[in-house]
Symmetry: D2
Subunit: 503 residues, 4 copies
């Protein structure tokens, strides 16, 4: 949620040094205690999705997928997954997801005649979930060929990967990859004799990074990059600043629709879901402090207020602070309420918002969780000291116990609650996936010169188009401007209806 | 929620015939398709608690607990549970529960001097959960001796049962009892040489029924029955009408505090929780019809409205209907909206509210669930026909598939969503448990003649006392009347503050 | 809102002494500083309706209506009002009111055949407003003859009185009556040669009192009293206790529908309206303390929370206190927040809730108002001391200024804000008026012996009927029970659907 | 609210023709039926403020202020107002306003040492209200000299103008100016021997227009223009496009703080207030359609939903439409619900949103009002046809009656409800006034070259400063970044905290 605010350093070393740069990326999100791992895998690739739980593989097959001979029922073996036998189960998950992704299904329908991605060869690196599968199959329906790897070593739904492999996709991903596996899978996506990708769909920037490092010549044929994550976008802007971005890139992360849905509307629901699944806490009457009143904080506060919690807000920005006041929340400094609150939620995008000093002063049973940025907001490292006892009471739930018996309930070890302990509704992922598909179409079909070697936001009109594709889900009927009204407003009847800066 | 409305028949046959009567009880809640089971176990005993999931016993020890030799670490063997080794885990769950049950802990504290239940011998039959354990240990602290069985064959938390057994309680319960086990456990509670219970704490009426049937003489020494459930209270009123109730009984189910908390406040949260855990559905923009606008319906509607759903309400009672209107919900008949809604929720306490005709007309993907009474509201039996395919997609989630491919998402097979698919917050259970404890104390200590052989509601003042014991949780500060004000209002300064009929 | 809680004194002197009793009635509501007036007029008769503002009579005709010769256009002169020329304006107000009183209009329609009030001779004493006019004309349509006086010396809408007089009603009322006028008007209603009323419709009990005092023999022919107000009902219960109630009386005040609408739903809107009209205060971000969390308090709190205020609650009853907690309000003692709040609202039904000590500690600009009972809640008398300056800044708005310049904004001198400074929506009055009409019909047509010389609540079924008559306004469609369902629930398909105690 | 979206025409005639251009400005806002008036006064100057009602001048002094000899108590006569005797009353209103304008009072305090506007000579043309008076007196405290006229012929609070004149300000304004008076007053502000203004504070652009037309040379000494209104800003952008803007101008209208407060937060309250004061309608259960889901629409919808109305939304922009869906409103076309709704509210910024066809189909009693742009949204002219009868039932309330008796309740003749029928809270005006003051300071003190002859938005940091000055009102405590955190985020500890595009 902190977006691009940090990339302001003026003196960027012009020479790109991949290893170093990588390290730099990792500086911010590095989680203390796992430093060894994060040396070479970006942070986002180690966050785990709670929603990505595998349903079937309680079987503990310890053989590495890389060591197995794999073939689908048609004899195709150009993939590497956990277990092709789980394909049927995965297919059903995909079908269920299709029902909540109406916009992609609509794109498929419209593509029955012309194929806007005919000839496109897409390499992708994202979470491998049922929703991603719907996207991939849509891209195929639009004419593209796809090869895919996972952007996270934990998040792959093995059954879905199996269904994709069975369906003929070249997928290289399984839940629980090692670091070495991770890069091996990416490499298998990219590096195949006779295969020259011309589009990149990335989530976190690792795929892009790999091609930069290993196959820089590939960029000559690549028409563009579509990147979804904060981290990946940050990397692209750095490349751009350094004059090293050699193809156009589309920043999907900052499109209005995605922002509002991923943050405000999605967090409004996932804060409740995440807290309930982990702690069964009753919201009514609880005192809660929400740190940060951006879109995420607004969503959390609205939900908790509606459930009967008493909510306090902390802010650094006076405008957001005034909004919190007008919305009916007391604006406080954390130390004013830290002794009395039952729940502490961070949504600032900042680091060390909840430090040991505050943790020491919380009351017994206080729940602490993070809805904001990566794992930086709560100083979890400060809790790993000898006098405190950690007790894992449930999956994703630790009791940290003080010498006097006081327990703090820490969720997901300070990582993102909504990713770790709740599910992201398919409908929200549908908006992101549709935006990605449209961004690919736009970049692939754009006339020479429309996009330069720079990072672009999706045009407003496309944002509006993504939104319009989701309206039928709600049986929502849009009003059309009359000619007279359009003229009066100076607008095209088909949009865009708002200036680019309108949010 | 349907309360006592049905017990209006004046001419009740005076002769109690236990088998028949039992059958009669079962007429209402009988679930078609399981008739064989419900012949001899009351309905409530087969509802399962989702919250009661066992955390540890993935071990599939198939030996029946009844066939095992069991002893706790002190050599005591007067119990029968799944696995005494799980005691430590259970103890931790109990300790966690204690933190959210402040009123019981306060009662323990006050009882350090006098023991209001000294000499009480309580037989209990309730769900065996961490919260019940806190209640049982409180009763012990108050001076009582306890023997306990489960009121439901699925709901026992084996670890908690182990912890209780380890702590010296005579507990007879495990998750997954057979019908025969069920009654065997109850009998073991009651029937022990040298043991004559003098108080009954029941949930569903099965324990009371068993004593009536097998050991009617025991009632001579019994001072009273405390009953919590709708069904159990119904049975007691029937006994009372028939002139066969031979001890005073306290109807805990209809106390104000319990009603408001169990229904309005608890359902406000559990409707969201139950839907999320089973379907991950996004609430924003969804069209929902809630059948029934009593306390449960009010809670469901408020929560869904707050999350951005569009909510329709059906009602039979014009007063509740007008309340729904004033609260901003369109009041419709089910057939007016059944084609367009995304979610159908029943909260009527009635039967056959959602019948096959409506299920046939729902749109693809419609979610159907029950928050109301037992399993009668949705005519699930009508879906068990050859042309429809049932597919279990997750625990408690079935897709029922029509020949044209339409899927209905049926939750918990029409049983109570909040019991099956979400957890009941400990805080709510605390209110019930405290009410039970106070009811036991009241009956046990009441002077001869205060209570006759009838069914009583808890005195208003006790309801207020239960509430007051829970206020410190919220750091809530009650105002006291001045002498002048009390006189002006004609009230005692210590309450009761409202007439009995005030709700 | 305090209902019947006070009538608990057991030893009531059997001898009714009217003057004294009257004084006793007045003890509670007496407003210090106007004692001379309240000696012989009940408190409710001096509360003024803000909504009853006259639209046309800026003309300052100083002649007393009693001194004028009055005739309507048909030559009828059996009335006494301000100015018959205002009849057209009043008629339009009545027509507007008819549109929001659908239930009375429905009663008129149904009465086209049979006339349930044929032969009824009703004397009425209520606020004379457009809504009352719709009631009176409905009673006439149902077959009754009516004579009417005002129950309040300030609340008469002169134009409406004119329209009624022009329409042939014998109305005796004008805005700004003297005490002597007040009783003279009542007497003119009752005392006419050849007129023997057989029904009383009263609001405050003054009419009933007058007949008791002056024409006790009249009760021989009177079939019953319908009383709407708290005060009037209180008087009736006192009479009943004293064994002096000589006809059946219907307590309309405590019917469920009236309570919920007059209190919860109406106050939810009128608190905002009253504060805005008087002070233009912005609600967003304001800190408010609401004293009392009954129905009125619940309505006020819900509205202010929704508008972005931060709301604190004080309570004496632990059950209501716990509800406030669960609804998301901090429960405090008044002294904990009195220094920091921007607005203080009393809704307790108690006296001296806001005393001088609290007023002294409020911050500059604090707004103080009463939504509860009469004028007792704020100790306004304590502000009438020499060191404080009163400044009337608008109608109903006083600044009370402390020596250091601090100003408290006192609304309506502590009288009811919703009556003084906002309007009561016609729709709410419709519910009351319909209840009154049905109560009259019930008492008038009840077979001998159904009602004794006692105070009755409206039967639940009638309450439900009133509600059902208002549903069409909302295009609300009630569901009907099937035979099978009715049998299952043990209910009559036409209601009543809930036990009497259900609220 | 429609902002700057319309100024896109590319071929702007470079030659400015004042009379014509003026006509062009008026094309949009012209109200049919008053064309004669709007020939030479801009639309905004004829909108009237409900809040600006005069409290004291029931005296009907018919002499034009221009014909009177006027002097204040110190003998100063350089002003022209209604009645200097009302000064005391006006002073009290100003003092009351000061209490709700903490930021301006804070600016005064800080200016006790340095005077940032020392030497500034400000001509102003705004609504003359108590709030404006606080602004003017603040500017004076900051060192400026001021001369002022009204920007609207109806909106002047005569008492406030008197207090300002008494205080030594050269004010030229009264309620009920003629068109000729309007320009005469503006001219008196500008044109005084020995007076050369160097700053302009305008609301609507009429003052700027007048100087352009009559005294173009004056601009040589003018350092800048601060403009608040949509219309005025539109004019400035046109001038800028035409290359004719000869000084820097600050667009105060589009600052974030103003937008959020004037639109979202203020309308959330004023929609309720405006509807209540005009119609006393009960909101609970009412069906309402809100046309447009921008900030204004969002505010209206949130308030009505909270009060228990059932709200439908129409939109043209799919993004706003999707937000409406997620917020729980059914998105419809107007014709789908026009027959069933009780209230129609326009907030589109468009024209002819509610046309005769819709008005014909509304049900009896439907309330129609405009919260959006000027008076264009409802086609009121289409109702001025012979077959319809207009009946003025209250100030600002007309019944339009169809031949069949159907009545539509039209508020404020389709002009802005919030300006005409409710009051704007002082606190909101405080934000605007503070922004104006800071904009004046910024332009006046900016070093040569910082601002060119263009239209500027207030720097983000100043927006944040305005917000921060209002936080103490809510006793709100802002959190400060630590050095480490600021570095991590790449932010200055004092802000700005968000990019300029963040809203």
């Amino acid at each position: 949620q902190i977006g691009l605010k940090t990339n302001v350093s003026v003196n960027v070393v012009k020479q790109i040094q991949f290893a170093d740069q990588k390290q730099e990326f990792n500086k911010r999100p590095t989680k203390i205690g796992r430093r060894s791992l994060s040396r070479s895998i970006s942070q986002s690739s180690t966050d785990s999705y709670g929603s990505a739980a595998s349903y079937t593989d309680s079987s503990d097959d310890e053989t590495s997928p890389r060591d197995k001979q794999q073939k689908n029922s048609k004899g195709n073996g150009d993939f590497c997954i956990k277990n092709i036998k789980q394909a049927d189960f995965g297919r059903r998950e995909i079908e269920i997801a299709e029902q909540e992704m109406p916009a992609l299904m609509a794109l498929r329908k419209r593509a029955q005649g012309e194929k806007p991605l005919a000839g496109a060869k897409v390499v992708g690196c994202t979470h491998i979930t049922a929703q991603t599968a719907v996207l991939m199959e849509t891209l195929t329906a639009l004419g593209a060929q796809c090869r895919w790897a996972a952007c996270n070593i934990y998040s792959t739904q093995n059954e879905v990967a199996a269904a994709l492999a069975e369906g003929g996709f070249s997928v290289f991903a399984w839940k629980g990859e090692s670091e070495d596996d991770f890069w091996w899978c990416i490499d298998r996506c990219v590096n195949l004799e006779g295969w020259q990708p011309n589009m990149i769909l990335d989530d976190g920037g690792d795929l892009t990074h790999w091609i930069y490092k290993k196959y820089p010549n590939m960029f000559k044929k690549i028409k563009g990059i579509v990147e979804e994550s904060v981290t990946g976008v940050h990397r692209l802007y750095q490349l751009s600043k350094a004059g090293k971005l050699c193809v156009p890139a589309m920043n999907v992360n900052d499109s209005v629709t995605k922002q509002k849905f991923d943050n405000l509307y999605c967090c409004r629901e996932s804060i409740l879901d995440g807290l309930k699944r982990t702690t069964d806490v009753m919201f009514g009457g609880k005192q809660v402090v929400v740190c940060g009143y951006g879109e995420v904080g607004k969503g959390c506060c609205a939900a908790l207020k509606a459930m009967g919690s008493i909510v306090y807000v902390t802010e650094i920005d006076p405008i957001c602070a005034l909004q919190a006041c007008m919305d009916g929340f007391r604006l406080v400094k954390l130390n004013e309420v830290i002794r009395q609150v039952d729940i502490v939620i961070t949504c600032t995008g900042n680091k060390n918002v909840v430090v040991r000093e505050y943790l020491d002063r919380m009351k017994n049973g206080c729940i602490v969780c993070n809805m904001g940025h990566s794992n930086t907001e709560i100083d979890v490292a400060s809790l790993r000291t000898p006098e405190l006892t950690w007790e894992r009471v449930r999956s994703q739930v630790d009791h940290v116990i003080w010498p006097d018996g006081k327990r703090i309930v820490l969720l997901a070890e300070g990582r993102l609650l909504n990713l770790s302990c709740s599910t992201v509704p398919t409908f929200v992922l549908s908006i992101t996936a549709t935006t990605q598909a449209l961004a690919l179409i736009e970049l692939y079909n754009a006339p020479e010169g429309r996009y330069k070697q720079d990072v672009y936001l999706l045009p407003k009109k496309m944002d509006e188009y993504v939104a319009s594709l989701h309206l039928p889900t709600f049986d929502a009927h849009l009003t059309e401007l009359s000619d007279e009204q359009a003229k009066y407003l100076g607008l095209n009847k088909n949009g865009p209806f708002k200036p680019n800066y309108y949010r």
